[in-house]
């Protein structure tokens, strides 16, 4: 789970619960997303990488430089 790439479908920012779509188990699932750096704002459509996974449905992501 950690290290997978995902696409932001709900804006990630301070005080917000974002959403990322991550390819897993042969399908694509939506996870609640928070930024690793709480000050980051990641707009919809950005590619992120999962830094940490908090079961059941929460991931901490960082924007990829690509």
């Amino acid at each position: 789970m950690v290290g997978r790439q995902g696409r932001v479908t709900g804006k990630i920012g301070p005080g917000l619960v974002g959403e990322v779509m991550i390819s897993i188990r042969g399908g694509v699932e939506a996870f609640y997303a928070h930024a690793v750096d709480p000050r980051d704002e990641i707009p919809v459509g950005s590619m992120v990488v999962v830094v940490e996974y908090s079961p059941p449905r929460t991931v901490y992501v960082a924007p990829t430089s690509i």
């Binding site: 709900g10 619960v17 188990r25 699932e29 939506a30 079961p55 449905r57 929460t58």
Partner: protein, 456 residues
Amino acid sequence: MPGTAALAIAAVVAVVMMIIIFKMIWRVAEPNEALIISGLGAKAHNRDTAESLGFKIVTGKGVSVLPGFQTCRRLSLDTRASDLDVNCVTKQGIRVHVKGVVIYKVGDDFSSIANAARRFLDQQKLMDDKTHQLFAGHLRSIIGHLTVEDLIHNREGLTNEVRTSSANEMGKLGLVVDSLQIQEIEDESGYIMNLGRPHAAAVAAAARIAEAGRNQEATVAEQTAEQQNAGQIRDTQIKKAEYQGQVDQAAAEARQQVILKETRNAELEAERTERRLESEIRKPADARAYEQVTLAQAEREERISYAQAAATETQLKAEREAEATRIIGEAQADATRKKGLAEAEAIKARADALAQNQEAVIAQQLAEQWPQIVEAGAKVFGNVDNMVVLNGADGLEDMLAKALTLGGTGLGLARSLLSNMNGQQPAPTSNGTPPAPVSVETVEAVVEAKTDPTDK
């Protein structure tokens, strides 16, 4: 042979038995469900949650379940929907009635399945009700953080609020919200309708302005075209009238020439006719008139001469006739006078004679009148209807003789008879006076009356 047949039957039975046993202990998870296996030895294979879980979760494959030692339950991973119908208040304090639907499912990871299994495994039918109650509360809080405009326009904000408010609780329940849709917002205060009115009015106004503008342009274009058409028509008509006037003028001039010629012809014709009439009628008429006047004068003179001659003749004739009448009258008067004188003398002489012998005269007269007397005597008997003669023929003679003798004896009776028969004749006693003599003057007057017309 019987040994082999029994062996075959035993083999078949063994196979059937094996299939039955296999069916009893082997379970397969469908793609949309998870098998929850609990019991003997059901904790070894879960990497993530092995320590705490007292059961095994299997998805997408088969697994053997030992009857009597393990139980197998199925948890559906299908999408579920729950209708929401809540009255709530927006951030601005406006009361709205919201109808929506939330679509959720059990999460696909083992953590979510484990959470959900522990909460809903026996109550999968009741999951919708619980979720409805849960989300009704969440929706109230979500809408309380939003304005009406956000509800309508800001879908990102709505989903964000849904995630923010429900993430933790849904994580506890092992559920994932796929979508939350607001289907209908009923607004008792008319806020939403009023929101749209300015824009609607602006759009309507813009539409009307645009329509009016286009109409105006179209009208201007139409009127301009009409003006140009009218101008063209006017020019054409002016030209037509001009040419028509020229044509009419030329025609009139030609006509005038014709009329002049005709007038001249008519004058010449009239002159000719006049001359002809003068020679054919007037001159002969004058001659005839002169002739008739001359004839009439001659006739008049002739008639005057005739009349004078006739007058002279008549005058002379009248003079002659008057003279003759006068002579005849004198002669007649003379004759009448002499005749009257002679009659007078005769009557006088007769009267004298009567005076001397009256009886003789009477007798003479009786003799003259005898037949009438006898007739009168017979009339006496005529008045008797039946006369009875007593002594025959002698009697009749006697009576007639008596009657006659009676007449003979009574002279007075005879006189009366005579006087009755003579009527107006005067009685013999008065015959002594002569009749009044006719005077000579009257005779002359008669003669003059006879001759008078001839004189005149």
